[in-house]
């Protein structure tokens, strides 16, 4: 027998190898099954009610007929204002933490606070929003109060994803700049940001999708059960897709069966569309940078 032939021990190892691999594969499949089921279910049940009118008409007959335009427009308002508030603050904070902050107890405390903020349940954010924005700052229940609540809630994620993007820029680039006498800001502006912008944008766009689906934080701060008109400014209340889905599923009698599924499908499509754009954008930006 050649010294290179398999021994019984080798055979046992090969069998164990196959079993382990099969288990991991099974777990991966289990992971995608629910996603596929949810999507199929939604499409089968929700697609029939989708129409131009469903998307672009006002609700009628106590939300049992007509469309979802105010909720769709409201979600776009909420997400846009929330982003305008959270992105500048979050990106600036991340730049400070990554590029300027010395490694001391204060920085570590801030980092810990950010991680903990990300773990706060959304209903707690909602109550904070009521106390801070609705009552204390007297914004009332409005898009502004709801969006700021969403912004506070999404800040940690914006900061963390921006930090990751900034830290993925090799330290050698910074060293190169500093050693030619560039200031921190020159280094950030000319080298660090251009090379991390794809990562930052990806984080931001993923954030959009999360914000769009949140219900609890906007329920008490600015989203309304039903409004017969579109919001005219940030101090108006608004309807929102997520809350509308909750309302017509549980609170209103006589809603056609397909309606909630239609709303859910629109919400999920919006989110998937955002994700697709973010992935496409990242791929495009990655293609342009090389090191």
């Amino acid at each position: 027998m050649s010294q290179f032939t398999a021994t019984p021990r080798n055979h046992r190892q090969h069998r164990r190898q196959s079993v382990v691999k099969a288990i991991f594969l099974l777990m991966t499949v289990l992971l995608i099954v629910p996603v596929l089921l949810i999507l199929t279910f939604l499409i089968v049940k929700g697609a029939p009610v989708l129409s131009f009118e469903f998307l672009f008409a006002m609700p009628e007959n106590g939300m049992t007929a007509g469309g979802i335009l105010p909720a769709l427009v409201g979600t776009v308002w909420l997400v846009t204002v929330a982003l305008l508030a959270s992105v500048p603050v979050g990106v600036a904070a991340a730049i400070y933490l990554s590029e300027y902050a010395p490694d001391n107890w204060l920085t570590r405390a801030i980092n810990l606070a950010i991680i903990n903020l990300a773990g706060v349940p959304s209903i707690v954010h909602a109550l904070f929003g009521v106390g801070a924005f609705v009552l204390f700052f007297k914004f009332g229940t409005s898009i502004l109060a709801a969006s700021l609540t969403l912004a506070i809630m999404t800040l940690p994620v914006v900061i963390v994803s921006t930090l990751e993007a900034l830290r993925s820029v090799p330290q050698a680039f910074r060293e190169a700049c500093w050693n030619m006498g560039a200031t921190r800001w020159q280094t950030i502006r000319k080298v660090v940001l251009p090379n991390s912008v794809s990562g930052i944008l990806t984080g931001v766009i993923l954030e959009v999708s999360r914000t769009a689906g949140e219900t609890a934080p906007i329920m008490f701060t600015g989203a309304a059960f039903f409004l017969p008109f579109l919001p005219q400014g940030v101090l108006d209340q608004t309807m929102a897709l997520s809350l509308h889905l909750f309302v017509i599923s549980t609170q209103v009698p006589g809603v056609p069966e397909g309606f909630p599924y239609g709303v859910a499908l629109v919400l999920i499509s919006l989110v998937l569309l955002m994700n697709a754009i973010s992935i496409g954008f990242r791929t495009w930006l990655r293609g342009r940078k090389k090191w």
């Binding site: 490694d103 680039f173 060293e175 190169a176 050693n179 030619m180 006498g181 560039a182 940078k289 090389k290």
Partner: protein, 257 residues
């Protein structure tokens, strides 16, 4: 300043990383316009000493320095000294080439642009700066047709030359090099050494090397360090043929290191 006044002079230079003392009373005078090699076993403080000369050590908060360092007759640790100016006039090259992820042309112009005062210079002037810097490091003929390519697409040897070239538009007085050839193969090392001889005269070059043969080939003077102390400093030929200190002799002959 007298013509032969030292380009770099340290006086009783001590450096501590926290509790650990890395340099002990280093007195060094580096002559202008020549290549001086810093040699010694790992951990002897040669890189630390090099990094004092453009004050890059200070970025580590726990570093404490005492003593004096003069470059071209001026105390670079004096109050009122601007770090950006120190680093502009004292260029540094690292072990691993670190070109910026920009076109070759923009790499060369980077330092020039961040230090430019007044209006943006004309494109023709920028072209002249790029060509002259690349010619000085013997890279012009290789890359002149692809100045808009990413610098990171060059070979390691070309990248290292580019990293030296991008310092030159700032008209530095001193070039500090921390084992600039350790990432390169012997052939590339040879061409970089040839380039060093071209730069000699126009710039004062202080180079850290682990490679005895390189120190011997590519330097005018040698400084031998051991355990944070300066042991011997003299013309390279003398030091390699008749070292004055027995520890230098032991190191050069490979008895430790």
């Amino acid at each position: 300043m007298a013509k032969d006044a030292p380009a770099i002079r340290t006086e009783r230079l001590n450096l501590y990383y926290g509790e650990f003392q890395a340099l002990f009373d280093v007195d060094l005078a580096v002559k202008p316009g020549i290549i001086t090699a810093l040699i010694g076993p790992s951990g002897c403080g040669k890189t630390t000493l090099l990094r004092c000369v453009n004050r890059i050590n200070e970025r580590l908060g726990y570093v404490r320095t005492t003593g004096r360092i003069e470059v071209m007759g001026e105390d670079i640790y004096a109050p009122g000294v601007e770090l950006a100016q120190v680093r502009k006039h004292i260029g540094m090259v690292f072990q691993r080439p670190n070109p910026l992820p920009l076109p070759i042309r923009d790499n060369i112009l980077f330092g020039h642009r961040i230090h430019r005062e007044g209006p943006r210079v004309r494109r023709a002037e920028e072209d002249r700066i790029v060509e002259s810097a690349l010619r000085e490091v013997l890279l012009w003929d290789t890359v002149k047709d692809r100045l808009d390519r990413k610098a990171t697409s060059l070979s390691l040897e070309e990248q290292q030359k580019l990293c030296i070239a991008r310092l030159l538009p700032l008209k530095p007085k001193v070039l500090l090099m921390d084992e600039p050839c350790s990432a390169l193969d012997p052939k590339a090392t040879q061409t970089v050494e040839e380039m060093l001889w071209e730069l000699r005269g126009a710039y004062t070059i202080l180079i850290v090397t682990h490679n005895m043969a390189q120190a011997r080939r590519a330097s005018d003077e040698c400084v031998f360090m051991l355990m944070g102390k300066l042991i011997e400093h003299g013309p390279t030929d003398d030091m390699f043929v008749t070292p004055r200190d027995s520890r230098t002799a032991d190191y050069i002959e490979g008895r430790y290191g």
